[in-house]
Symmetry: C2
Subunit: 643 residues, 2 copies
């Protein structure tokens, strides 16, 4: 249930769900509260006064005599029970700069955007389970079992082509399956297009098994593999699971995986690892629902080109070398079990087609999910990560590219960088007066490091408060205790050792800032180069869609502040979340949408940035916060000039 | 080179090839010569005088003083070098009955019949090897390797559909294959139908391998597996091999194989055995030609329904039980290597479609070879064996059936029966006066036993000389030393112990005769029942085609004498030989003929004789030599009444 919180004296209102953490709500509203320990309740700094309404506090605030009459709580340990008015103590209050930010975070708008972007889809899967009562054979009618089955499938459909099957193994059990339940069987079929393309039988089961009709949608990411199990009768998600891609042990990014694949046995090892991770997902889901892996009738997966190659055991060697040639873009429809996946021997695994070596099936799936190829609106589709993928276009044309942003957004190359897991600083504010931080970590533990979204928050805050300049250098004149010369270069102490989980100071250094600037610079130069290639600029965009898990956690204002996203009307931005998984899920549910996928990859034209001099020019110009050309960032220009 | 032999005093002329054995030639001409030892030169009885021309004798004839001036040779040890006149000594001469037979054996007419029956076919195989020079990728043109390959294949053919491939393994080596010979590759493709059905890529090889383009045609028989290797550029047979089907160790006939397949591990063992035998053929051929099994681009095979099931590892259990249901008639196109066949991993094995459980792909292939389905002539197609298959029809309709004749034609159920191998009596004459035999064995050794064609000769001769009556009982009144009461029943001594290889008397018994009568009766009843089912009789037949290895060795006159074949105009009979192998060979050479195969199996309607009361009536009537209704056998009636 939605509640409203009114923060005073900033006079900011925010809508939250019952049970939301009060510190999170403040951070999201852009209200600064002292909080050094990430929300762990240790530092005891985040005291606020509840002037009206009810909160539930799991830890009492240490209060002084004079505050005895007031209802003082630790924001980090309090959850919202009713509409609230919260007085932030003046000594912890921000000076008002926070008010200028228009808070806009992921969760508050992603729900809204999903429907409008993705449209409706039907529950009419590309796979079908059909229960058949078959006439038993007689001497007068002793056609082969297979023919009898096909006759029963075709019954009453004269325009339907004869069904086919493509694996001889189907035949091995057929006579026994048909007789086991007295000529009552359930067939699982890939749907064809009536007369044009025949239905394809992929499995036959004794009796009526139509009650269990599940499909698994998978997003096979370089770092994380996510899966949702759908009830294909209703289209509902009935279980979700996600695991790390256990290939990580062989390298963090796709390039290091390709390098590893070139070792003796490397390709096989990598294939085994991704299969192992997929099996973990299947096991989790099946254990939760108490079903068998063989009850899953189809797997629809999306992953980047290299993940697809590795899963299929295809050598990605030439993807890495200029001119960057994959073996194939249209991945063959495979039997999952043949890859080692714990599945019914007949179950198929479909992989979304790629467009190029570095624009993979995850992007095709995402574009397919948001129906860019159906809309006349000029849309910029962005998936930010180590490799940032960018698509621009509409229902008439689409250009796409990938740019190597480096691992900064995933915590790589950052001194205290880490992945978005427990203890990672994900949100950050600075008190513009004291330059003290407000830290919020994932799971509200003491801070352990900085994840990508935290990094963006930190850099945006440091920039807006003048702690760093537009080149990403610390203002050495400030003389603040948190700004110091570290071992190699200047740094800002985000958390002191006593407040951190690691027992050492967590800092951000000028090298970190430089890495972030390069990463965001590459993305921005990518947008510019792609738009320029079709004679367009940011002003021509009707929509910007942020896909990917990381995209879903980005604070829009701050991402614009540092120049990661273009400074255009905020209403044009949409968060799509894990678009790759969403596309797979939609295709698994609606065969008309599924069939449509080829249109997407057919429309997309790839551009290689690595060989583009235009890209290099744009990149160099973007190595500034937010950009050397401040006219491209009017709102940031205004914000920074306020100081 | 052809030579003419003029036998005196019978005044019979026969055309033979240079090098033919003189005793064989006499037997074929129906000229009786004393010969007890099968042609081994041991008995020394087969002395003849060469009155003109040259022979080559490997063993001198024992000659008396008075014959010193004459050129006396042992017929069994002499081969023809020139045109000859041969005087058969009067004491060994037949009384003339032999002259009444119009000799007509396999080899003399099969060559003639092949062309007229089978028609011409083109060298335009369903599989294609194409050498491609592919443009290497550049950054501007970095489409995936697969796409690049397909583009090169389609080049210049705009109406052609995009080629497909159906096995992910193809992709694994593709990038290396393409780069290995500097973007020059040879693709092996299954030909589609241009716009309708795409070509299918089955293998890609580096460089130009179009020089080696071989296809293997296989006849997978219950007893024997025969193979011919074709040069697919020229259509020529460049090697042949045949081996016993090593499944024989698990049973002589298909039913015993089905029984064995039901044991634990039985199916797998049987599959392994037939694969082993196929590998023997491949090994023989490859060793002879010094090629590698992977140089063979396609295998086109034909076998009966049970052989096809066993090869594919499909359980034939329900084929044996009423209502006799196979798993499938259209056998899936399989990768040979997946079955364990020593072949390129991508090589396909095609199996001719069956019509029913007991009318298999060998029959479809045979009918396809002789183009019955293209001719308006009403044709009776017969394949005689343990299971005799019968097809009747023309280009408008075809009926087919199988009848269980029992193993007599393959030497089974006969006291001294044996398969047609070395030492088997394959030809036989009787001196009508002395009732002494003229024996010819395979490979001219001393006799070891009686094979199917020998059995037909023996029974026909015994019948015509009155040694047996029309019920197959010995004429006990003759009082001849060779006719005696054996342990269980009456028998005729074909070879005395001293002349036999086994050192014991070789006999034919009344039980043997009974078994033969049942076997030929089943076949004849089969023809009648099938013809009757379409309101026809033997008079409506335009042609009778004898297929199968056994059919190729049958002496037509004698087969009619015993009632195995109908007594109609001899000019209507044709020998097709191993029609199953021939069909496979034609399909391998000409894709238009290959495509046509579905028409054949589509036209054929199966009839189950086992449940037909008409069949039982015809069968009982046929248990007589040649038949209870002698009006059905006018020429035999005349011959027998001559005595």
């Amino acid at each position: 249930m939605e509640k409203t919180i009114h923060f005073l004296p900033d006079d900011v209102k925010i809508t939250v769900d019952t049970g939301e953490n009060l510190l999170d709500a403040a951070a999201r509203a852009g209200v600064y509260i002292h909080a050094f320990c990430g929300g762990d309740g240790v530092c005891g700094k985040c005291k606020v006064e509840v002037t009206s309404g009810e909160v539930s506090s799991s830890q009492a605030a240490p209060t002084s005599e004079k505050d005895a009459a007031k209802k003082i709580v630790l924001a980090c340990k309090s959850t919202v029970l009713s509409d609230l008015t919260i007085q932030v103590p003046s000594k912890t209050k921000a000076d008002g700069t926070a008010l200028k930010r228009k808070p806009k975070t992921t969760r508050s708008i992603s729900a809204r955007s999903l429907d409008s972007l993705v449209g409706k889809w039907d529950v009419d899967p590309p796979i079908e389970k059909r229960f058949l009562k078959i006439d038993p054979p007689t001497v007068e009618d002793n056609v082969p079992d297979l023919k009898r089955l096909m006759r029963a499938i075709k019954k009453g459909c004269y325009e339907c082509a004869e069904p086919t099957y493509d694996h001889p193994a189907l035949l091995q059990d057929l006579p026994f399956t048909m007789r086991e339940a007295n000529w009552e069987v359930t067939v699982i079929m890939l749907r064809g297009k009536r007369s044009e393309e025949p239905d394809r039988i992929i499995a036959v089961e004794p009796g009526d098994t139509t009650g269990q009709f599940y499909g698994l949608a998978l997003d096979i990411g370089t770092t994380t593999i996510g899966g949702v199990l759908l009830n294909l009768h209703t289209g509902e998600i009935i279980s979700e699971a996600s695991v790390y891609n256990s290939q990580i042990g062989y390298g963090e990014d796709v390039i290091s995986r390709v390098v590893y694949s070139q070792r003796p046995g490397g390709l096989k090892a990598l294939q085994g690892k991704v299969v192992y991770s997929i099996n973990q997902i299947i096991e989790k889901i099946c254990r939760e629902l108490i079903i068998s892996p063989s009850d899953i009738s189809y797997i629809m997966a999306a992953g980047n080109t290299i993940m697809a190659h590795l899963l299929l055991g295809l050598d990605p060697k030439f993807i890495r070398e200029s001119p960057y040639v994959p073996i194939c873009n249209q991945m063959p429809l495979t039997r999952a079990a043949a890859l080692g996946i714990d599945a019914h021997p007949s179950m198929r695994l479909f992989l979304y087609p790629s467009v190029a070596s570095y624009v993979g099936g995850d992007i095709t799936s995402g574009v397919h999910a948001c129906q860019m190829h159906k809309s006349p609106e000029i849309t910029l589709f962005i998936d930010i990560g180590t490799n940032g993928e960018i698509v621009v276009g509409n229902n008439d044309w689409m250009m796409c590219t990938a740019c190597s942003a480096g691992p900064a957004f995933e915590g790589g190359g950052i001194k205290h960088g880490m992945r978005a897991s427990s203890g990672a600083i994900e949100n950050f504010h600075i008190d513009p007066d004291s330059l003290d931080p407000m830290i919020i970590t994932i799971n509200h533990t003491k801070p352990r490091g900085i994840c990508g979204s935290g990094l963006i928050s930190i850099v945006a805050e440091l920039l807006e408060c003048g702690v760093i300049d537009q080149q990403g250098k610390f203002n050495r004149k400030l003389g603040h205790s948190r700004i110091r010369e570290g071992i190699d270069n200047y740094e800002y102490v985000i958390a002191w050792a006593k407040d951190s989980l690691t027992g050492e100071d967590i800092v951000i250094t000028e090298v970190d800032l430089d890495n972030l600037i390069r990463a965001k610079g590459a993305m921005y130069a990518g947008y510019e180069t792609l738009l320029e290639s079709v004679g367009m600029g940011f002003g021509d965009l009707d929509r910007v869609i942020l896909a990917g898990n990381f995209g879903a956690y980005i604070d829009l204002e701050r991402a614009i502040s540092i120049g990661l996203l273009p400074d255009i009307d905020r209403d044009k931005f949409f968060y799509l979340g894990n678009a790759s998984l969403l596309g797979a899920q939609i295709s698994l549910t609606d065969h008309k949408r599924f069939r449509d996928r080829m249109e997407v990859s057919g429309l997309m034209t790839n551009m290689e940035l690595s060989e583009s001099p235009q890209f290099m020019d744009h990149y160099v110009a973007a190595l500034f916060l937010p950009h050397t050309n401040m006219d491209l960032f009017p709102s940031v220009k205004e914000k920074l000039s306020l100081k």
